[in-house]
Amino acid sequence: MTKKIAIIAEHHGEEISPVTYELLTLAKKIQGNEAGDICFFILGENAEKPAQTLSLNTGEIVHAINIPGLLQYNGAIYKKLLSTLFSQETFDYICAPHSTSGMDYAPALSISLGGSCITGVEDVIMEADALYFARSMFSGKISARLGAEAGPMVLTLQPGALKPFPLEHKKKGSVEKTVIEITDDTMVFTGTRPSPSEGSDLAKAEVVVSGGRGIRDAQNYKYIEMLARLFPRSATGGSRPICDYKWIPYGKQVGITGTTVSPKLYFACGISGAPQHIEGMKNAGFIVAVNIDPDAPVFQIADVCIVEDLMEFIPLFIETFKKKRRKKDERNNLGDPFLD
């Protein structure tokens, strides 16, 4: 059976988001060894430009749906338009990103098309001719395999879960342009507001020490600060919940809806390792995780895994390190009596 697969591209103006290329990997995995159609849909005013880039990079067919006036995501318009498009031309699978926009339109789209929906997909499993989709549950402590029978199947892909599909410049793709006038008065875009993490010093720091709910109390954030002080050019950060609890300001939030950091060294202390946090720090050069739970998902991406209570480990680390440094300084001083 050949499968028809549509991918809804994510883009910001002319810039294609990385998850769009990861969606192609998802589509190819669904397709397996069978022949079939894969095509992209990209929506927005001036959709042709990013559509050109996408077809050039993937060699696939890209439908550029030009919607005058749609300069940023609008859920009502996406839902209306995509339901119309996909009832005119049906697909077996519709792949969207598990981003703040994909999460917004995908579930509704599956309802209006009478299909099924699986969100936060991380992988595709082929077993005895049946396709299953793997996704996290229970904060990543469990991986669930779901199957879908009713078509179309609307899937959202967890960003970062699959590798981007390698760029393909040999195959010639194509762009098919359509202009659609569409407005919606139930949801009107009125503007934007900058992120509270704008201008935060986190992104520039060489060492970031972050705390999560595992610190248990606002005052225990001092352990995070003490640890950070051992390193020059360091900054302190945290997971979203401790910002929500007002233990630290949102400017310090690391993750998909906070700051994305890529320091030389990242400490995750009392952080479970939810995908939304990992997306914001996985490019750190070296990751040290301290967590009392040996099954914490954060250990899957850490370079050094330490199963300990952070409230005991951090003070002991600081004390031991300072002692060693003092000894080293003393040795150095003995070696050169003129230097102080």
């Binding site: 995501y73 981003s99 703040t100 999460m103 917004d104 995908a106 579930p107 509704a108 599956s110 309802i111 099924s116 936060g120 299953y132 996704r135 996290s136 549950m137 229970f138 904060s139 990543g140 402590k141 469990i142 991986s143 669930a144 395999r145 779901l146 199957g147 879908a148 029978e149 009713a150 008065d185 139930t186 949801m187 009107v188 009125t190 503007g191 934007t192 507001r193 900058p194 992120s195 993490s197 704008e198 390193f231 020059p232 910002c243 007002k246 939030q253 809806t257 906070g258 040290v288 998902p297 899957q300 991406i301 850490a302 050094v304 895994c305 199963v307 300990e308 680390f317 031991t320 390190f321």
Partner: protein
């Protein structure tokens, strides 16, 4: 304003998560403790804040779940909501969100709610589907990840700030009735007050058996649960805490990360 808040009961966040014998759900014992989905506490609180501004508002809460989920309704009643509806479904295990959404929307149809609030996701299943599906089933707008909302004085629109990647916000004017799914941090959920809790105990909960609703094929089935494959790329430090400290100092020194 007539507000409906959807709340779900989930296992307490630090519970042991072990797969049961069927391989299709989590093992529960007498000592397993449950709580209101932490993401839903923001929805209850937001409804209470709206009621403080628009006096005369009513807040209903609804849950789909087994007998025991009534405790969670009681907790929300203790926070100050007016009435509780329980769609009783004794099935323990994965219930696809489209099914939950179809029952809630069937209940909410023609009941005149101006606003339906949900959490951004359930802490256990992490679907993020139920709210947007309810809206679509009712053919009303939905705005997800709301981090700020303000209802217009004529109560026909709500201004919503929705949070996107990087923490920036997109502002929308949304027509009522609508569904909002709330991002964490939109408010600080209150604790139930003792007097409210006492009063809540006496409140009647409106129970509707799930069988009352039209059967619907959710189209999705859970085949199996597994523990994630451990593909740790790093090293696990062994030994006493003192030895782990020494090892970490040694590793960081070698990598020239400590000076």
């Amino acid at each position: 304003m007539k507000i409906l808040v959807c709340i779900k009961q989930v296992m307490e966040s630090e519970s042991m998560v072990r797969i049961n014998d069927s391989g299709k759900w989590i093992a529960c014992s007498a000592s397993t403790r449950f709580e209101m989905n932490p993401f839903d506490a923001y929805a209850v609180e937001e409804a209470l804040l709206i009621k403080e501004t628009f006096s005369g508002s009513t807040i209903h809460i609804i849950t789909v779940g087994p007998e025991q989920s009534r405790d969670t309704l009681r907790k929300a009643l203790g926070m100050g909501v007016d009435e509780a509806i329980h769609i009783l479904d004794n099935h323990i295990g994965y219930r696809p969100p489209s099914l939950t959404a179809s029952w809630i929307s069937a209940y909410a149809r023609d009941t005149g709610y101006d606003l339906i609030l949900t959490g951004i996701m359930s802490a256990d299943e992490m679907n993020g589907q139920t709210g947007p599906m309810i809206a679509q089933l009712l053919s009303i707008p939905c705005c997800t990840a709301a981090i700020h909302e303000k209802i217009g004085p004529d109560e026909t629109h709500v201004s919503v700030e929705r949070e996107i990647e990087g923490g920036a916000r997109e502002l929308f004017d949304v027509k009522l009735p609508c569904v909002l799914t709330l991002q964490t941090g939109i408010n600080c959920p209150r604790y139930p007050s003792l007097s409210m809790v006492l009063r809540a105990r006496k409140k009647e909960i409106h129970v509707i058996p799930a069988a009352f609703f039209e059967k619907r094929d959710p189209g999705v089935t859970l085949q199996a649960l597994q523990y994630p494959e451990k593909k740790n790329k790093g090293i696990l430090l062994n030994g006493t805490i003192e030895s782990k400290v020494d090892q970490l100092i040694y590793i960081l020194n070698k990598k020239a990360l400590l000076v």
